[in-house]
């Protein structure tokens, strides 16, 4: 329950995303983060699918990340640049909350429903300055050797 901070935020400036859950304004899109691990508490539902990602202790960037092929999508996303600039988060949380896209978009990409225990890799963004809860909003999802763009639908 965070009623007082919310009221303060409401009075101060409605545009300030103190703890943005949706929207992109509170997310640092100049800092693509890479995470991989095991999916837990998967909620394959609207308004967007989400799950907890359990990271291994030895989280590292895969050597082939920058060379991976990313699919074209209906919005212009500079995939190669994002992959080349991907880094690991500074904070050391072992469980991150991952936000995907609405079910209609996941369906458009024909992404099979992620199940608890599945191995998942994801490139995305967290809050500016890594503030608040460890939340990652996915730009690219990698499952079973395939890459999916989540910012928009397939072209």
């Amino acid at each position: 329950m965070q009623r007082r901070p919310f009221l303060i935020a409401l009075l101060a400036a409605p545009a300030t995303a103190a703890h943005a859950h949706h929207g992109w304004s509170g997310f640092d899109q100049d800092r693509p983060l890479f995470l991989q691990g095991t999916a837990r508490k998967v909620a394959w539902r609207n308004p967007h699918a989400e799950f907890d990602l359990e990271l291994p202790a030895d989280l590292a960037l895969p050597a082939d990340l920058a060379r991976r092929q990313v699919p074209a999508q209906s919005a212009s996303v500079d995939g190669p640049r994002l992959l080349a600039g991907a880094r690991l988060p500074t904070r050391k949380d072992r469980v991150w909350h991952i936000e995907l896209a609405p079910l209609t978009r996941l369906e458009a990409w024909k992404i099979a429903e992620i199940k608890n225990g599945d191995r998942v890799e994801v490139l995305g963004y967290t809050t500016i300055g890594e503030k608040g809860d460890p939340v990652l909003r996915a730009e690219y999802l990698f499952v079973d050797g395939r890459a999916y763009g989540l910012r928009s639908s397939p072209p």
């Binding site: 919310f6 703890h19 943005a20």
Partner: protein, 148 residues
């Protein structure tokens, strides 16, 4: 944000049908438009604008539209709520919104109980102003649910 598993888990199936949630959002927006639109029309008339329109008839017809809009927004809102009740009950803007809804309901009931339309006095005007302010705050809170 944590996928709470406390007690009543609602009807998560609603959120599993890809088209249903966006459709509910559409109904919710149509309801809000009807509710606030009809409210602003009647309130402007009460504040002395559009005096060529008969006040009593306009207020009667407007109230029906307002209630219809509320019914649409409430039905779609309740359905969306049931798709993830535990999460919404832990969401600050949602709780503020529900409190404001209660205030708006009490305010509207008080306005009509004292015959605010026929009186069109200072108290009545203050109530219409409060009504507009409350509904705008309710819309802001509603939108904030997703961002908090």
């Amino acid at each position: 944000m944590p996928l709470s598993s406390a007690g009543f888990s609602g009807w998560p199936g609603i959120a599993s049908v890809p088209w249903l949630y966006p459709a509910l959002e559409v109904v919710h927006i149509v309801g809000i438009g009807l509710l606030v639109g009809s409210l602003v029309l009647v309130e402007l008339r009460i504040w002395g604008r559009g005096t060529e329109l008969p006040l009593a008839a306009l207020a009667r017809f407007g109230l029906r539209l307002t209630l219809a809009g509320f019914a649409l927004a409430a039905a779609s809102g309740l359905t969306m709520f049931l798709s993830q009740p535990a999460e919404l009950l832990g969401n600050a803007p949602f709780l503020v919104k529900m409190t404001l809804l209660l205030c708006a309901g009490v305010n509207a009931a008080a306005f009509h109980w004292r015959g605010g339309v026929a009186r069109a006095d200072t108290v009545g005007r203050a109530q219409t102003l409060a009504s507009l302010g409350l509904w705008l705050a309710i819309i802001i809170c509603g939108r904030a649910i997703a961002y908090y």
